[in-house]
Assembly symmetry: C2
Homo-oligomer: 307 residues x 2
């Protein structure tokens, strides 16, 4: 069975690891969000691709929830001491990757090519594709103004309410090599438990992606990132409340109108399954507290395909 | 007393620290070599300026002889694992500085401006000036071909004999702001115990520098980098033998013909003071084995000025 997963950052990355453990590394293709990519200290940082890469390589920090396990922070401490750009937490090991990627991008290698090389060097067998090799950046519209994603998310601690999200460069972006093929060849498409607005939407904003998903001939299942109407982490619940009118499964589903056939929701949301229309609810425990839990969640989501 | 020191890397940096301890931070201006600057992993590295900066800030690694004390190497290990450019040893703390400097240079700040800011952030009160803000790069001519300095020095371990040295970009370079003033206002000019060919010569290759030194009205004293005809570290002795015909004080002096009034040489070279012409030899112990030794050497060198 071939599974293609559209995926954002940390939560999605955990799910992807579960999916790979269930279906096998060769059977999964991951299409990662690049809307929250950012230039920090002159380096090109792709936080979502890296979260996925680190999770698949088993290098991610399970405790902290982001970045690499055993990370150190010597370079950043010096940057701070020297009055440099230190608002974005770049660990030393993380920096090593950003340096290699940035140099390759400057030399003209596409992001998809660098990503494949990095994955290979980390012995990650699962294909990880950026949604696009082109520059696509998520901007957050708030009452306090319009901010690049990371400025809103990290520098401002995502405290501003979100009135809208736009994707700079999306119109001119093309799907990265392999992305449309991965959608066309999949037996199942999964939208990982990621933020619909800032993780999945920027992937779907790449011209051709949404259309390919809408025209799918195979099931597509979304995994809700909410548990009992709350985000495990991050602003997904606040964004859903404000932008979609609520945090019930139907509100999540509405973000993916016409694109999904089933939605995996947590038991804590099982009381509120009205308004899903033709989208089939699949109720299970969705908190990926440990390796077993993420595997069970992936099993349920991947079970959405008729055998 | 105002002292202006022309200086290369590690040995020179130690001497400069001694000079500052003797004369006071306000009394010393250092003009640093930039010929061995190099782009590594997309970062602008100025090894000599950094050696001086680290020495003056008391951050240098006395044991290893280069780089920062307490340095860690996490980023570089990842770069290596990912197949990136790892031939040049960049520690994590060192990287922090390179990231800040590179970002500033890309934003259009001149090297002298960045250097002053870095020094200030590290609470270094001594003025440290790059010889030039323009791109000037040392190339080494060898029987095996022509190499950028760091490729010859680090990547090839300076094993190739040197037939010549040239300074790419020197013709179009201008002295950095303050350099000519520092030479004009000095009561004493010192050529630090650095490699004459690849540390001091690239400074003198900046148009106007050699002329200013030749036209000086104050004493200029060179400190020989050799002890008993041998370099403490590095290829200075081999280069002198091949390019100047020997490793005696007169061969070092010949590198600075018309530019120096005195030369500080080690006791181990006191037997061979012939051929110095009008250059006055000053014999002392020159090995800067510890803080006392570097201070004593600086005292002797700075004593070359008539009170």
């Amino acid at each position: 069975m071939k599974v293609t997963v559209l995926c954002g950052g940390v939560g999605g990355a955990r799910f992807v690891r579960g999916a790979v453990e269930v279906a096998g590394a060769d059977s999964v293709v991951v299409v990662g969000n690049v809307g929250d990519d950012v230039e920090v200290l002159g380096l090109h940082v792709s936080p979502d691709l890296d979260s996925i890469l680190y999770a698949l390589a088993g290098l991610n920090d399970e405790q902290r929830g982001w970045g690499r396990a055993g990370e150190t922070w010597e370079a950043l401490a010096v940057v701070r001491e020297l009055g440099g750009e230190s608002w974005f937490a770049l660990g030393d090991r993380d920096l090593g990757l950003h340096l290699v990627r940035t140099q390759a991008l400057r030399a003209g290698e596409p992001l998809s090519g660098v990503t494949a090389r990095l994955a290979s060097a980390l012995r990650v067998e699962t294909r990880l594709l950026p949604a696009t090799d082109d520059r696509l950046r998520t901007w957050i519209e708030t009452p306090a103004g319009s901010f690049p994603f990371q400025e809103w998310f990290v520098a401002r601690g995502h405290r501003d309410e979100v009135d809208g999200v736009r994707f700079e460069g999306a119109d001119a972006a093309a799907p990265a090599p392999g992305v449309l093929e991965a959608l066309a060849e999949a037996d199942l498409i999964v939208l990982a438990p990621s933020n619909p607005f800032v993780s999945i939407a920027p992937i779907l904003a790449v011209p051709g992606l949404r259309e390919a998903l809408a025209a799918r001939r195979v099931p597509c299942v979304a995994v809700s990132p909410l548990i009992g109407g709350r985000a495990v982490k991050g602003p997904a619940d606040r964004m859903l409340a404000r932008l979609a009118g609520g945090t019930s499964p139907r509100h999540v589903t509405r973000c993916y109108e016409g694109l999904v056939d089933a939605i995996v929701v947590d038991e804590a949301d099982a009381h509120d399954l009205a308004g899903l229309g033709e989208v089939r609810p699949i109720v299970t425990r969705t908190l990926m507290a440990d390796a077993d839990a993420r595997r069970r969640l992936a099993e349920v989501a991947l079970g959405a395909v008729p055998a």
